[in-house]
Symmetry: C2
Subunit: 335 residues, 2 copies
């Protein structure tokens, strides 16, 4: 998948925060294959995405630091000398952010500030790519949602992720740091968290189908969403990292929209088996649900040449294959 | 100044966070005069606005808690039973927020979350009024700036104050808390912090003139700003507290704009003496200066009937009189 980009990373030094998570580890596999010197830092916080199994096969070719970037000395030592910093650490559960807003504040605000402060003091030349989320838009006022859509978060997570984005813009303007922001939508694929619905409902669906169990769609199944296969997301991070046109910019990622029922039907078709039922929204989820969402991602297409290359059908098929083979490491992972 | 509002506060219980600061103590004086039961909480954090002298004359009629609302048990005990909560605690220095963004995060994000979480768990019926700032608009894209102006903070303080506002909106939408937000511009008057330029340049100017010393205008003195005399600001808080129309709403405060040179000349005229000189911006201030700013405050006029009643000339005269008599407690206060 790298081809044209591999040369930009050969011999380069790259730091990935949240490096044992779904996206972080996927990025690590690709960077290692491009002969980058890769450092992963992950706090392996309980109940979050970190999973040591996710770097199986490259564990001897990456440096892994289990620690917290909020530790000032650790952050300083980690950012020093890096060419690229992929800021993927964070808490991504909308629901958890409402139950425990203070932990969300620590993971999404303080941790981002810590990395940026470390860069300001120890490495102003690294290129930073920050993983943000479509959650900051709140309930869409129009569709598809472009980057100019108002930011009206409907949960604490969206407020803190917005702050995270703005820190990056600000440190660029005031201190000259080079940072790009990607607003992710539902990203899925091998190594995604499937233990529960913290990352995306698609995780629990995939697990259920791979395990031969039924799953639930909350609501009437007519909500429309868009999806990005992990390889496509990784490619977007690499493009944003290498292109100067991305400095100081914010880009939506996205893909063709589908209704939840269409996704469910496609998943069952691809799996050759499976079943689901419609169920009412749990009330605490309903208050922060955003209804239909899909992105206008024409900006990243025009500026960086990115577009999704893997169809939902193909992506679901690859992901199912992965979990049928290796799922046990993801169901039972104690992290 | 209360007249029509006094009845709403007689016997009512009111909590003021940042209660020993400029605005907090001014509000306390008025609430005490309306026979409210007033509790002040203030951390008396070094280098910030808290000053025990500011409640001289009412110290026996208010309950003062020196502590930090980030302490969960303290926050719970303080909010319980209150009818009104005035959330004025916070770090307001733009410059300090860039030097130490972590402290700004604690004081402007964590502290606000702590009060709201305490209300969610222990008192959902209190009316909350939150002090925000025009700083969140960043460099104005048009003038005067109304509440629909884009929010593009140019410093860490603006990012965190935006989060503070959004928490209030969110807790209103999700948990039914009743909260109103006031976006303050340069508020001035007796009891304001004059030790340095942390709150507003006007503080150092007033101190210089009251002490017979020269002061500096940074830049060419043609920047336009607006000003709110403290009694007018207090009245806005009381209106927002008592009017249901304010629930879930955000209001600019403001006043007639003047250039900095006009303000300087007026101050010297009112004082009968004084001098200033133009000086270049310190570079670290220049990066976060926002140029001209003045608010469109027609929304608060239409919805709550608020307008500034004290002219800049009158306000400066009253403030100078205050500092000439009591200034020593504000220059030398060790807090």
């Amino acid at each position: 998948m790298l081809d044209d980009l591999a040369g930009d990373f050969s011999g380069a030094r790259a730091l990935i925060t949240g490096g044992l998570g779904f996206l972080g580890s996927s990025l690590a596999h690709v960077l290692v294959s491009a002969d980058a010197e890769v450092t992963l830092v992950d706090s392996l916080a309980p109940h979050y995405g970190g999973n040591v199994w996710s770097i199986a096969g490259i564990e001897d070719r990456v440096r892994v630091e289990v620690g917290d970037v909020r530790d000032e000395r650790l952050a300083a030592s980690l950012v020093t000398g890096q060419d690229f910093i992929f800021s993927l650490a964070g808490q991504t559960s909308h629901f958890d952010s409402m139950v425990d807003p203070f932990t969300d504040l620590e993971m999404n605000c303080r941790a981002q500030l810590a990395v940026l402060e470390a860069c300001r003091n120890h490495n102003r030349s690294a290129k930073i790519v920050f993983a943000s989320t479509r959650q900051i838009y709140g309930r869409p006022r129009y569709l598809p949602v472009d980057e100019k859509h108002p930011i009206v978060p409907v949960d604490v997570n969206g407020i803190h992720k917005t702050a995270g984005e703005w820190y990056h813009r600000l440190y660029g303007e005031v201190y000259g740091l080079r940072a790009a922001v990607l607003r992710l939508t539902n990203t899925y694929g091998p190594r995604m968290r499937v233990k529960d619905a913290r990352l995306t409902f698609l995780g629990v669906w995939l697990r259920a189908v791979a395990s031969g169990e039924p799953f639930e769609i909350w609501g009437d199944g007519r909500q429309r969403r868009d999806f990005t296969y992990v390889d496509d997301a990784v490619r977007a991070f690499l493009l944003a990292a290498t292109r100067a046109e991305a400095d100081g910019e914010v880009f939506n990622l996205g893909g063709p929209p589908s209704t939840l029922r269409e996704v469910a039907d496609l998943l069952i078709e691809v799996a050759g088996d499976g079943r689901y039922r419609l169920a009412p929204f749990p009330s605490e989820q309903h208050a922060i649900d955003i209804g239909d969402y899909y992105a206008d991602y024409s900006k990243v297409t025009q500026r960086l040449g990115w577009e999704p290359l893997v169809s939902l059908r193909e992506g679901l098929a690859r992901t199912l294959t992965f979990y049928r083979e290796q799922g046990v490491h993801y169901w039972d992972n104690p992290a």
